[in-house]
Symmetry: C2
Subunit: 239 residues, 2 copies
């Protein structure tokens, strides 16, 4: 850090990590990701080579400098969540923390999106980051649904649904060039997940059978009333 302060005397406020990430990203845009070396980056940032690796394990990490702190925020968010709240709502809200990383800096996010499309190594890196979020959400749901027979399966399926919906909303915003409201796009996408998997949703986790158990019955509009009632009765009986 002392090195950072010396070299960046003129811009004391920007932390070294940010300075490096910015220098790296400018170079990736100018020369391409593959053709930029760590030496190029530290030269541009005006620091020593070891400084880079103090902050980033690899060149790829410098492209996504905010995910580690976002993962930490998500951990804290999930730990603080009340067991009273709908578990699916909690993970949807947690996913929105990721969105904020993108939406606070639209221009950078859109440029990075384009860069990531072009560099297979970055796409792979992004996949592994996304997977870490997904595992974290699944871990939370698994613990909330520990009593359910299919809790672990359901946790993984719902976490995957949340991530897919979040990314669908995020990507449509990125593809639009960062125009419009990112949170709105993601909220709309997550609505399908909340509606389907959330408590009171149609695919909600089934608790152990109780008097208050929920019965779902499906009928076609063309069905005669007697058949509908017959099926309601049998559903209420067999649960």
């Amino acid at each position: 850090m002392s090195e950072a302060r010396e070299v960046n005397g003129a811009q004391k406020k920007a932390p070294m990590r940010e300075v490096l990430a910015e220098a790296a990203f400018q170079l990736f845009l100018e020369r391409g990701f593959e053709r930029t070396t760590v030496d190029d980056i530290v030269a541009r940032a005006g620091v020593g080579r070891r400084s880079f690796f103090r902050y980033f394990p690899s060149k790829e990490d410098a492209v996504f400098p905010d995910h580690e702190s976002c993962l930490a925020d998500m951990t804290a968010f999930l730990e603080a969540a009340s067991d009273e709240s709908d578990a699916v709502d909690v993970v949807c809200d947690a996913a929105c923390l990721v969105l904020r990383v993108y939406s606070t800096n639209p221009e950078f996010s859109v440029q990075r999106y384009k860069l990531t499309r072009e560099v297979p190594g970055l796409r792979t890196y992004e996949l592994s980051v996304v997977r870490r979020y997904e595992r974290m959400l699944a871990g939370y749901l698994r613990q909330r649904w520990v009593e359910a027979t299919d809790g672990s399966l359901r946790a993984e399926v719902v976490a995957a649904s949340v991530v897919a919906a979040h990314n669908n909303g995020l990507r449509s915003w990125l593809r639009s060039g960062g125009e419009g409201d990112a949170e709105d796009a993601v909220d709309r996408a997550l609505r399908l997940v909340r509606r389907t998997w959330g408590e009171g949703g149609d695919g909600a986790a089934a608790p152990e059978p109780q008097q208050e158990d929920v019965v779902v019955m499906v009928a076609t509009k063309g069905a005669p009333m007697w058949r509908v009632i017959q099926r309601v009765e049998s559903a209420l009986r067999d649960g």
Copy 2:
């Protein structure tokens, strides 16, 4: 290929690709993935270095030698699927093609699972393979649901659900050491997806309102029968 035939005169029946994959895998188990070089692999297989790269772009590819042909099978399967069938059933069935790649060779699959847990590079590679399957399933669903307002979102969320359920079943089978029935484990996991997202499922894609529209009604087991019927009637009326 002529090179392959010369060198493997004694075992003409094993195609060169298989011989290389087998040699590679044995070495990965013996020495570890990182410590095995392509030179080691070709030496063990008794062929020239270029032969390796003729079949596999990288060392990682040799660990998963069947995925390219499985992706091709899946493409053919989806292209041949009838538009009359439930789109969610089609993608669940397509996912089972992947399972078969694992279940036909339990011992190899279990060993590879353990190897993959230990080598971050292989996990990342696997993620990108899984992502290709997911994109293929999403592409099929998108085209089936092209008329629905939320078709593209739904396609991505359902594809992610299918992959998550498939992998949950597959992993539980792999963790058990390949004991028991893999297809059964995956079938059970996919049931949640079919039930939730399939036609007639609770979270099914909503077509434009029609006379045949499906009505879903939810009641608590404690509710009196008259209230249940009242709600069925109103649901049938208002859809």
